[in-house]
Structures are given as structure tokens and as C-alpha cells.
Subunit: 346 residues, 2 copies
Amino acid sequence: MSRIIIQSKLKKFCTSIFKKLGMDYEKAKDTSEVLVEADMMGHSTHGVRLLPLYIKDIEAGNMNITGNQTIINDTGSCITIDGEKLPGIWLTKRGLKLSSERAKIHGVSTVLIKNSHHNGALVAYLLPIVEQGLVPMIKCSVPSSATVAPFGGTKALLTPDPMALAFPTNYEPVLIDISASITTNNMIADKIVKKEMFDFNCLLTRDGIPTNDPKEVFENDGTVMPLGGLEYGHKGFGLALGIEALSQGLSGSGRSRKLKSMNLSIYIQVIDPEAFAGLKAFKNEMSFLYNECVNNPPINKNSKVRMPGQKALLNRKEAIQNGIKFSKQTLMTLDDISRKFDLVFL
Amino acid sequence: MSRIIIQSKLKKFCTSIFKKLGMDYEKAKDTSEVLVEADMMGHSTHGVRLLPLYIKDIEAGNMNITGNQTIINDTGSCITIDGEKLPGIWLTKRGLKLSSERAKIHGVSTVLIKNSHHNGALVAYLLPIVEQGLVPMIKCSVPSSATVAPFGGTKALLTPDPMALAFPTNYEPVLIDISASITTNNMIADKIVKKEMFDFNCLLTRDGIPTNDPKEVFENDGTVMPLGGLEYGHKGFGLALGIEALSQGLSGSGRSRKLKSMNLSIYIQVIDPEAFAGLKAFKNEMSFLYNECVNNPPINKNSKVRMPGQKALLNRKEAIQNGIKFSKQTLMTLDDISRKFDLVFL
């Protein structure tokens, strides 16, 4: 029931839809590229499956599709931007590019973006930065949304709060993309569509009882457990607070604003190892560590230790050669959009 | 069997011991202060309980006690330091002070320290920095030690890899200090001394079987599980790799050096919110979040949601008023040291 789609055709299809909706060309191209990149890496929960959400928000006026961001503060290495509800992927890509340029001058550069629309999968941005020998970091939170309760609480307050970090080695780069909660909102949505339960209790009912039923969160005021669950969830709660402080505190855009439509605060930092002990020493140490990890005697003899991003890079290589394989649900979504916009995607 | 000790007397006692061993005065004073500060905050695993370890390493020549650190690279906002195996607490305190001064000029300042001796509890450093309206971060790893296996592996390779972050609010500051593993080496040592088991399986035997017996790690080649355990330990593994990359990669001092005696790589970053949307906006947003957290309806009606650091700050206040209460084990340790150095501590 699945079908293979060539990535270049899919990017063109997505770009055409965004253009048809009136989006500026660069914004349409960037948004399409990063959504398809997520699918290529196998992160299908954050790929073109999100198109209907983006289309809906454009039509409702919750995502601005033309015009420019506003620079609020620029000290050279520290930049604060108002994203003006423009496409989050375009904003994040630009933020990373700016931060990388400035990191090469200042060693470390930090970019804060407030009022951004959704920005997809963080892992999908890292490769072009890390290939320049830089260390990119992204930490996001969504002050307009809440699905995670503070540790010990029952009412949704925080977001899954993802964070990504990538670093170069003499082999493949390591691409880390994790959240401060056990699972994410898009994973929950995906499970509901597929009528699946989670493998273990990573959610709480609104009364604080552990559950693996994704519907409890979206339909019954349940919450997602922070990393560490009931046993040591104070750690995930701490991680989340750190991410909310860096993204919402530094940008000055947080939950006190009681925002209604999709609105992200994004913290970006890029580090140039040359400003410290040098890229060569960095890569040598991290290559040693990489080797020691993948050659570590495994618990299960048939599954070697895998580095973060290793599977995503393998999926990406396969997608470039053979196209992307989509689930029946996503194909139906693409068909619906294709009909609605009178645009053929294959 | 416990006894109350006045913190000022304990600091004097520790300083005298370090001085008797030949340590420079400032190093002795700083080391004593941070060890006692950990005890005051209730982090007794990283308090004066560590004295015998420090004394042993001084006597063995593994910790240098006089002389200076070497600046390898100083770009203004990015500083790389060789700690020359000097006391890690003194190095970390100085690094944070330098980073804070530079953050006020550059907005963000990053300090890397390699070849540091042990630096105690990260939470014990944060208060003087956050009280200046700054956001301090510390991430450490110990290339000379290994107790955590990569996710899916069985051989110790990584360290618990702690990270700390603090931020100011209009109320009390939030002090986060967590590790990328479920538990820490000092917690394991403490459980062994107290002949206790962990409440749940947070360790693996050398064959990769979950266990709660602390002795499996120190006596039987077992390992500590990364944050997330068997179910989602890839998240803790990712966190650990990020911390090792920032501390060991950027300082150029990692596991390839096959160091034998206690040797830390430390990443310090201090952020000045004034370089972004401003301290006032930062504190307002974080105060709103603070309030929403502590007033969240709790799972258990008798235990309100607690912010990271809240208990530590309460313990600290109590210790200042009434002294520190020590366990029988720590009191015996202090008595032994008191006799050995012919110094009375009460």
C-alpha cells in the first residue's frame, strides 16, 4: 500500500502549492526542502505529513507568507529577531546561516527568534552547517501550545521542547535531535491516525495515572511525561525548563503572552571549534569516541551500537538513490492536496 | 547518630587541611567553600564526603596544588584554558568569574578548561552568577573515567556527564543540575557505603542485564544506564555525546589520551540576557512560568510541584541558620581526617 516518490519531484510539488497560496519563492522553496529532507531521513512524523497543518494555518492567516523578519537587536555575535509569524522553516534556515557566518567571525554566535511559525524536524537542518566544520545547536519551545506537565503535576504547561546538536568527525557527522519529554506531539498524532498504542506508559491521564493511550493527551486533557517518567522525571523537567529559558526567556516571548495560534521561540547557537582548541583536535577526539561507541560490545549481538543520526543519514542516502517510501496515510494526504490545488505530484 | 556542624567552622577546617598539604591559600579556600556549599544544599554526595579522595590525589601527586593555569587561546568571548591538573573547584570558580565578566561585554562568553581535577557539585557554583542577572551553564565530562555504556552497549565508555544551568526570576532563581545518566558515580559510591540498593533498575550488569545493585558497577564491570534506560536511552546517550563533544571536543582533551588519574574537561558558558530581549523581559517570562509550575495541580495532593533548586535553596537557608546535619559515615570520615592532620573541627 506504500509508494515510492522521487524527492526532487516532491519538493517541486510542495513548492508549487506554497506558491499557489501566495508564499514568496524562497520561503516556499526552503519550507519544501526541509519537510522533504525530514522524510528522506525517515523522520516522517515531521515531513510532508505536516502539509495540511501548514496549509490550514496559511488559509486562516496564522502564518504570514510574504515580507521580512525584523531585527530587534544585533551586537555582532548575539542577534534577536522577531519572526513576524513567517514560515518557521525559512526563519530557522536563515537563522542558522546567519549564526554560522557570525560564528566564523566571533567563535560563538547566538540567534534568538520569536514569533516563528512551526519549523519541522530539527535534525533536517544540521547537515549543511556541520559540513562546514561547525557545531550547530537548536532549542525550541512553543509558548502557544502545552502538552507536558511539570514533574509531579497533572496540567499541561510545557511543550516537548526539542533540542538538536550536531558535530563533525573524520567519518560521518553525529546528528542529535531529542526532546525533553518521552514522546512528542507529532508522534502522538501519528499513533492516533494509525490507531496504535505506545509500547509503554509514557503519558499520564488528567488524574496523573500512567497510560500508553495517545488519545488521552489530545482528547482527554492528559499529558506527556517528561524524560525520566515517574521515576526520575525531574531530569526531563529540568531539561525542559532550560530550553524554555533559553528560547522564551532570551527572546522575551513566552507563555505569559497567552498566544493562541502556532508560535515558536527558537534558540540557535553555532560554535566554531577553531576559536577553541581547533577543528583538527575536535574531530580527532570525536572520531575516537565514535569508534569506541560503534565497536562497544552490544547487549544484543545482532544489533550494534548506533550513533545518533546514523540511521537518518543511511535513510537519506537510500532516498537520494531510490526515492522516498510513504505510508498509505501520507499518500492519501498528498492525493487530497493534489486534487484541492489541481497540481499533479507524480 | 548525626551531628550538626556550623558551616563557617567546617570551611575553616577544610581550608586548614588543604593548607597543611601545601595548597595555595585561594585554592584551599575556594575548594573548601564549594564542598561545604554542596553539603549546605543537601547534595551530600558531592560535599566534604569527597575530602579523602582529594587528599589521596594530592598525596599521590595527581592534583597539583600550587601554580597557575595556562591560557591556550583567548579571543575575548572564547577562552581555552589548560588547568594543569590544579584543583577543579578553583578552576571552575575562576572560569565562571571570567566567563561572567566577558559575557557582560560580549553577551555570551564560553570558557573551556582541560586537565582539571574534580570539581564537585555543579549546583554549588550557580548562585553568585545568577544573582548578577546572568544565565550560567556548566557541562563536564571525565575522559579519565568511564561508567556509562553507549545505548545498546555493555562496556563502560562515557561518564555520567553532568550539566547545570541556572536562571533568574523575580522570585528565587531556578538551579538545574542533572546528568545524562540515570544515576551518578558518587551516588553509587554512597549506596555501597550505606549498603543500600537503588529503588529501581538503573544499572546494567556486564552482560547487559538490568540491576539495582550498585556493586555491579564498581566491582563487576557493570554500567550505569543513560537517561531513558532500556526504553529510550538513546536520548540520554545523545545528551551525553553532546556534553562530551562540547567539553572534550572543544578543549581538545578527550578519551583518546587514555588518561589514568582524575582529569576533567569543562565547558562553561555564561549568557547575559541584556544582549538579547533584556533581563526584565527574561525575568518576567520566567516568573510567569515559575508560578504556573508551582501552582500546577499535583498528582499527589500532599506534594506540590517543586522547581529545580527549590529544595537546595531551602536546605541552604536552614544550614546558614542552624548548621549542617551530617550522616554517621561522613562524621567518621571527618574524625579520621581530623586525627590524621591533628586538626580539631569542632
